[in-house]
Symmetry: C3
Subunit: 104 residues, 3 copies
């Protein structure tokens, strides 16, 4: 870095040397951060279950699917995070709840 | 920054001062961007529903699950985004469709 | 860059010029990386299926939902990635498996 700085008064080409050096530092740090974030990004999921026909995911999670008692495959998701089983007299409802997060 | 620059001709240690200063600037900006992206990353989901045995998610979304009329829990996902309910004479099919996005 | 450097001895305002220039370089590179990562982030999903009452997603994937033979809509997810269909004598179980990744 010192060599490039002292030579700068002598030649316009040297100031491009400093410029490139800084660009390289920036690119290396940015690439490293991008790799770290993309390798750690993951789906974080959990299950919630409740008696009756309705259950909701905790705050921050979205429902990706629902399961129901009595072999019932008819359900719908209400709002972002609520599971509702449609069969009459349903005994339990569960929700699969997911969000995006980083591990580690 | 001016102090470090004028002292540089005197000592090799000063050029490390500039170098570190630039590294610190870069790290601070990169960390700030990583925190912003990771706090805003989220799962974006919606429901689509159709009469009959098939429905597809909008472009850009993947199907994470399917629900069917007639209490039918037998279904399969076709391609990335299509839900198909397998029971005979199925009256409706719905898909839970999700993608990764940023909020705010 | 050379103009700012030669003028620096004359005025404290010039060193702020170098400082700002470096900040601008950093911000431009960081913004560009953030846009690239957020436009490429996506949900990557696949289906797995097995005879019987249980099936698991491949390593790295989380189960977002399960489907079962015999029209059975009663299932639960075990651990992060296992689907279990609850109806007696279930003939097949499938899992929808997803993870976060980058395309391209």
């Amino acid at each position: 870095f010192a060599t490039l700085l002292s030579a700068k008064h002598a030649s316009a080409q040297s100031c491009c040397g400093i410029d490139n050096l800084i660009d390289q530092k920036i690119q290396a740090a940015v690439q490293s951060a991008v790799s770290a974030v993309t390798s750690k990004a993951q789906l974080i999921c959990l299950n919630v279950s409740s008696r009756g026909a309705d259950v909701s995911c905790p705050s921050g999670y979205k429902a990706t699917s629902c399961a129901c008692g009595m072999a019932c495959g008819s359900w719908d998701i209400r709002g972002e995070s609520g599971c509702h089983c449609q069969c009459s007299g349903i005994d339990w409802t569960s929700a699969r709840c997911c969000k995006v997060g980083l591990n580690g």
